[in-house]
């Protein structure tokens, strides 16, 4: 990370790296903070550091400092409760936490202390291990795991990104997420500007797009769905985006079509990524799913294959294992947990292995159902899941958010009609109309039953 920031600062020290409601931070300021903090961390003999701070510039500078001082960093989610923070610190053996929050217990360090010193570590990036931990989203297990990475592996792809300093990217993922870290890396490598909203909610993202003249934005399909809904209600013209990227969840074609219609100047791309992979695969043809040709690509960074309907990956940037577990071979194949199906010349995502609905022994994938429900007039958002049932184990259940003015009875009937010709196990047997659907890290909360 520090090498990317230094390169950007050397070219244009006063270029804005981060713009937010709190103000702007230049690349020179980020590097100064990082180098001062690195010297302080070394002086204190710190080897591992947890970070919990709502200020993105602080997190960015601390990540860079740790990458320079060979300190293993780990960013905690800002929304974490006191109990969650305590659980993470206990489980991940984090004796030291850099934070501005008032929390109980010892081992707290205010980030300001780290850049108050006079010394700067301005020498070359050291050889040897430069570890970091990245928390998984935990949407499946309910408890995030910590994937062990090394900056040298994570940076392999970022170092090849060409500078595009005119780009202004929206930060739509929290920096504790792998996708958020990827965004920091991408913007630093591109020597561009990152714009952050007051929160990661689509409404605040839209406000930040307009306020900071965002040209490029990457978010989950759920994020984009809600942002489109915000646009419909506020009546203002859509921001003139040049790039719209979707990732983190399977991408429904209805969302791609709506984005294409709304952001007519934008290139639409999809990212396939996972915290454990250490990189993302970008598809820019605007079609849903991945082209089958990705299975033949061997660019040396990542390879994909399908085994028993599940996507497997081998990546040179992949994690080295989960914290507390045995190391995994750094060049081994790894199951992604993403279930896929080849349709023509595309690989379509069917859902997570853990989300499959078991209806009397018939495996039903929720994502294709959600996609079809989303196309029914009057449906704003849908979530398909398994509902426990004494007779058949589970039935397909839907939580549905209605679009403005839609009639619930009419939409209920239309959904049932949509699936009337499907195999019986695939038909939704329970439809519940709800005000909203929970999201976590910009993704629909999955893996639950009701």
């Amino acid at each position: 990370m520090i090498e990317l920031l230094r390169a950007a600062a050397e070219e244009a020290p006063h270029r804005v790296a981060l713009a937010s409601a709190a103000g702007v931070t230049t690349y020179a300021e980020l590097v100064a903070r990082a180098e001062t903090a690195a010297a302080e961390l070394r002086a204190r003999g710190v080897r591992r550091l947890a970070v919990l701070d709502p200020d993105h510039a602080t997190v960015w500078a601390l990540l860079a400092a740790c990458s320079l001082a060979q300190v293993e960093s780990c960013v905690y989610p800002v929304a974490a409760t006191e109990e969650t923070v305590a659980e993470l610190r206990e489980r991940l053996d984090h004796d030291l936490l850099a934070t501005t929050r008032e929390l109980p217990g010892p081992g707290l360090l205010c980030p300001d202390e780290l850049w108050a010193g006079a010394e700067r570590e301005d020498g070359p990036v050291p050889d040897g291990p430069r570890p970091l931990l990245v928390l998984t989203s935990g949407t499946t297990s309910g408890r995030p795991q910590a994937a062990r990475h090394d900056w040298s592996r994570i940076l392999r792809v970022a170092l090849r990104i060409r500078p595009t300093p005119e780009q202004r990217w929206l930060l739509a993922y929290a920096p504790n997420q792998f996708a958020g870290l990827q965004m920091l890396l991408h913007v630093a490598a591109a020597r561009a500007t990152l714009a952050a909203g007051r929160s990661f909610q689509p409404r605040d993202g839209l406000e930040a797009m307009r306020r900071f003249g965002v040209t490029h934005a990457s978010g989950t399909p759920t994020f984009w769905r809600f942002l489109l809904a915000e646009l419909r209600t506020d009546g203002e013209p859509p921001p003139p985006l040049e790039q719209v990227t979707l990732g983190g969840e399977a991408v429904p074609s209805a969302v791609v079509e709506a984005l294409r219609a709304t952001f007519s100047r934008a290139r639409i791309s999809q990212l396939y990524a996972a915290t454990e992979m250490g990189l993302s695969i970008s598809v820019r043809d605007g079609e849903v799913g991945l082209p089958l040709s990705v299975l033949d690509e061997t660019d040396g960074e990542a390879e994909l294959r399908i085994l028993d309907g599940e996507l497997w990956v081998r990546s040179r940037s992949s994690m080295l294992g989960y914290y507390g577990d045995e190391p995994v071979p750094d060049d081994g194949w790894r199951a992604t947990g993403d279930l896929v199906e080849v349709v023509g010349d595309r690989i379509h995502f069917r859902g997570r292995a853990t989300e499959v609905i078991n209806v009397g022994g018939v495996k039903v994938h929720p994502l294709p159902i959600e996609e079809r429900v989303a196309r029914v007039p009057g449906v704003a958002l849908a979530h398909a899941h398994g509902r426990p049932n004494a007779l058949v184990g589970q039935v397909v259940a839907l939580d549905v958010v209605l679009g403005g003015g839609a009639d619930a009875d009419a939409v209920d009937a239309a959904i049932r009609e949509e699936f009337a010709g499907d195999p019986p196990a695939h038909r939704p047997r329970s439809i519940t109309f709800v005000e909203s659907i929970d999201t976590h890290g910009g993704k629909l909360l999955r893996g639950r039953t009701s």
Binding site: N389, A390, L391, V392, V395, A397, P424, A425, R429, S430
Partner: protein, 83 residues
């Protein structure tokens, strides 16, 4: 006939219309399965969902014998409301 019975019978009738098995009348001895209403297992599962959503509990999930007739379904709720 209690008002509870009438209400439950109407719920079952509405459900049957929805799954295209609507009947003009639903006598108590009408079988849910086989030659009666010929509900398959998933239709029965859906009926249990409807009843649970409407009344908070349903006779298919109660742990006893599965109801075999319309009357068995009604009796489950009658028993629940009988002091």
């Amino acid at each position: 006939m209690s008002s509870e019975t009438t209400t439950v019978r109407q719920t079952v009738s509405d459900f049957l219309v929805r799954v295209k098995k609507g009947r003009d009348d639903l006598p108590d001895d009408l079988a849910l399965f086989g030659d009666g209403l010929a509900l398959d297992s998933l239709e029965a599962a859906e009926l249990s969902v409807v009843l649970e959503d409407t009344y908070g509990r349903d006779p298919f999930s109660a742990g006893g014998d599965l109801p075999q007739t319309v009357g068995d379904v009604l009796a489950f709720y009658e028993a629940a409301t009988t002091p």
